[in-house]
Symmetry: C2
Subunit: 193 residues, 2 copies
């Protein structure tokens, strides 16, 4: 039982990893723990829209652990292009250590789910990525484009980086978002860049 | 898709519902969204210690939705004894409305899981309750008894309110906690009350 306790207190640190988006109407940034919770429920809500049939329970478990590497590496905005390889290596070391706190098979199963998400080759992982990429867009659409404005993200960046991962996992979600994004672009949200 | 979006933005409000415990080392109270995430992983970590065989995936889905009624009712410390019936009724109205934002079967399935947790009669619900009751104890043990001190909770209150739900769902967890609690009581954490 002490191993379980050590693990659960270690992952408590994910509550202190802040992202670039804010919860709607709150004057703080969201953290990666509450983000993981919301993604799991986004996946459960939109499972009929998955590109292929998926095992929803594996998607949920994957989303619950997918950000745990940030405990050591921190969160980086998806549009960041520097230091990606180094951050990924740091995350891989972190999850090996953190999931290694647990006995097997629980620890090994969580590590395998984390790796499946990273590799993004199964239908479950692609659907999980679609949820992960879409959630900050949904918050931005409800928050006047807050994290895009604060970080100087352009309409073209959003579309070019998000279309493939979202439409590959949940095409109907990308159809929905692309209409919303184009309307916000028309309305001048992204400035004249 | 708009129904999914309306739902996911509505439950975003759970990130603004604060509890009485603090994440370890952080100078803020935790919220019910990140708490729900942590409970799901606590359940996944300690499933070999469940009192009876459980469907872990149902436990996880149950824990992800169990606090959503707090969006309208707020969080109340477990030791509060006033207004319980009124708060429960308010939570039941809230979840009917909120899960009703989703199409079925997704909305109906989440409502059924919320009700299963409330009724606490299945092995899955009892195990989920054990996780829910144990998590603030684990945080308090790591935080010098922070929420007990701040709210004047006695050792006797902790033991008398938590022993039944935790040992009914995860007896080995209660064995672990009871030793820790007795040691902290000996060390004077709870004052002379």
């Amino acid at each position: 039982m002490q191993q379980v306790v050590d693990f659960i207190l270690e992952i408590d640190r994910l509550k202190g990893i802040t992202r670039k988006t804010r919860p709607v109407g709150l004057d703080r940034y969201e953290n990666s723990a509450e983000h993981s919770w919301q993604l799991a429920l986004l996946a459960a809500s939109m499972v009929p829209h998955a590109a292929e049939p998926v095992d929803l329970d594996r998607v949920i478990r994957m989303l619950l652990v997918h950000d745990i590497g940030e405990i050591e590496a921190g969160d980086a905005i998806f549009y960041a292009e520097e230091g990606v390889a180094e951050r990924k290596a740091q995350e891989a070391r972190a999850v090996t250590r953190i999931f290694g706190l647990l006995p097997d098979p629980e620890g090994a199963a969580m590590l395998a789910l984390w790796q499946e998400f990273e590799e993004a080759t199964t239908p479950e992982a692609r659907f999980a990525h679609a949820a992960d990429r879409a959630m900050p867009v949904l918050l931005n659409l409800a928050n006047d484009g807050q994290s895009w404005r604060e970080n100087g993200i352009t309409y073209q960046q959003v579309v070019s980086r998000l279309e493939a991962p979202i439409s590959s996992g949940a095409p109907a979600l990308w159809t929905y978002l692309s209409v919303q994004l184009a309307a916000r672009h028309e309305a001048g949200w992204f400035g004249i860049r």
